[in-house]
């Protein structure tokens, strides 16, 4: 029996999506493979192109910033790889329902299936890029301790926020077709505003620009463990609070507009 409230139906939708995981695990994997069908190394093209970029930027910018490449390259590599995940989670969240428009009208599947499918495909892409980190960590002998295990809760927070962001941006962008463009330019700007190719310590004034940037905190909670550096409590607190707020807003938003998505997409 269907629940009568919007909220109840949204929860049913999400629960239904979780129970159909075989479908979205398959579809998400399919999304990653699709681009590389019949190519010899397949999705490892992701790894290769990311690797070349990291190498190029690493060598050039360590010169520009006059930082030892051994210090700079691993730092920047982790940042770029993480930004790859975070940035794509946000920009591509905008097209989840517009791209699924045809499917939405053909078959009744919980809408959260499309969200999980999308986030899962981004996780898979990230996993391919993560190979770069492993190579870099070995080559540059990044000193890892038990702290490195904090990577996992950090990534969980990023993925959760990715799901929440998709629950909000997916419907909004289906309704207002200018939003994806706005988000696209915003994320491009944020890439330069966030310490990824540069280091937070290079900033002598205007530290608030860092502290007010949520992406800085999310990058830090994963980058520090991966660099063998101790975590900063403040980063975790900020990310924790953002996750709770995003979660609440996302569920309410999704509950309110879920039924309209099929009409908008």
């Amino acid at each position: 029996m269907r629940s009568s409230s919007n909220f109840g139906r949204a929860i049913e939708d999400i629960a239904g999506g979780l129970s159909r995981r075989e479908l979205w695990l398959y579809l998400g994997w399919q999304d990653v493979r699709k681009h590389y069908r019949r190519s010899v190394i397949g999705p490892f093209w992701l790894t290769l192109s990311m690797g070349i970029m990291v190498l190029g930027i690493g060598i050039l910018y360590s010169q520009i910033f006059r930082i030892d490449v051994q210090v700079y390259l691993p730092y920047m590599a982790v940042g770029i790889i993480l930004w790859g995940l975070i940035g794509r989670l946000i920009t591509d969240a905008c097209t989840v329902f517009t791209q699924a428009g045809d499917a939405l009208r053909q078959i009744k599947v919980p809408l959260s299936v499309y969200i999980f499918q999308f986030v899962w495909s981004q996780i898979l892409t990230f996993a391919h890029n993560f190979v770069i980190y492993i190579i870099v960590a070995i080559v540059f002998a990044v000193p890892l301790g038990w702290d490195a295990l904090l990577v996992f809760p950090g990534l969980v927070l990023i993925v959760l926020n990715g799901i929440f962001a998709t629950m909000i941006l997916g419907p909004v962008c289906a309704r207002f077709r200018d939003v994806p463009m706005m988000i696209g330019s915003l994320m491009q700007l944020l890439f330069y505003m966030t310490p990824i190719v540069w280091h937070g310590e290079q900033l002598s004034k205007g530290l608030w620009l860092l502290m007010l940037n949520p992406f800085y905190h999310f990058i830090e909670i994963v980058r520090r463990p991966l660099m063998g550096q101790p975590s900063v409590l403040e980063n975790w607190l900020v990310c924790g609070v953002i996750t709770v707020v995003m979660g609440a807003v996302a569920v309410l938003f999704f509950a309110r507009y879920r039924a309209r998505i099929v009409y908008w997409s």
Binding site: R2, R20, E22, L23, Y26, L27, Q30, K34, R37, G101, D102, A103, L104, R105, Q106, I107, K108, V109, R175, R177, A259, V262, Y263, W264, S265
Partner: protein, 251 residues
């Protein structure tokens, strides 16, 4: 016992005036013949695809939906399947619903026939294990033989229809919704596959089917509903409804 009850169901499909939204065209094509009206003083236009529709379908009913393009046939099916949640009114559905709207939907042209059986099967609600266990049987049914190892894009149109059909009819839902979106060419195939279709439909507690083919409707349905401008113009025995509809077209 399966049943479907719609009471006072209204479906307004909003049309956003933005050239970049190609979806606009597809919605319009679905809705041609619905009621186009501006909504509450704004510039937004909505197409009223269903207008205060009351309908009860009981277990054992075989319903054929008749009407010109955009009369609301597909919209009713989408409401029954849960794809469209109505703007107003309530829908109550008892029983597991399966819909067959676009038979080619959910197929991946680059995947093999076998992979497509798994993919489509999972869309239809099978678990991976269930569909893998049944894929041999479905594969045989398609009669495609070694072609099942080839990617779908190498298939002819008829072959991919065979594949889609074999998978789609592998389920046994309590409520079966069929839209003629399947198209004329495929309708010819369907009449070839009539034996399997008869079994498939026979197992369902309820069949609701939209079609422009009177022969198809007469052979599969017992009841008819004639839709016009999102409302029911007439309902009754299928042959009577078709006769009245034909007369109105002629007159």
């Amino acid at each position: 016992m399966a049943s479907i009850t719609l009471s006072g169901v209204v479906v307004d499909i909003p049309i956003y005036d933005n050239g970049s939204r190609s979806i606009k065209n597809s919605v319009l094509s679905v809705a041609t013949g619905g009621q186009i009206r501006p909504r509450d003083g704004t510039n937004r236009i909505v197409v009223r695809a269903l207008d205060a529709l009351d309908l009860h379908v009981a277990h054992g009913d075989r319903v054929g939906l008749i009407g010109h393009n955009g009369a609301g046939k597909s919209t009713i099916l989408r409401v029954m399947s849960g794809i469209y949640e109505p703007t107003a009114g309530s829908v109550s559905i008892d029983g597991e619903v399966a819909s067959m709207f676009n038979i080619g939907f959910g197929m991946d042209p680059d995947a093999t026939g076998w992979d497509n059986i798994i993919l489509r099967g999972m869309y239809l609600g099978f678990s991976r294990r269930e569909i893998e266990a049944r894929s041999q049987e479905i594969g045989e049914l398609t009669g495609l033989g070694e072609f099942l190892d080839m990617p779908l894009r190498t298939y002819s149109a008829g072959m991919s229809t065979r594949l889609a059909f074999a998978i789609s009819t592998a389920i046994s839902p309590e409520i079966l919704l069929i839209d003629e979106g399947i198209g004329a060419g495929d309708a010819a195939f369907l009449s070839q596959a009539q034996e399997r279709m008869r079994k498939f439909i026979g197992k369902a507690g309820i069949l609701v089917m939209a079609s422009h083919s009177n022969d198809l409707l007469l052979s599969w349905c017992t009841k008819g509903i004639w839709m016009e401008h999102g409302r029911i113009r007439m309902q009754g025995r299928i042959d009577e409804v078709i006769k009245a509809y034909k007369e109105s077209l002629a007159g």
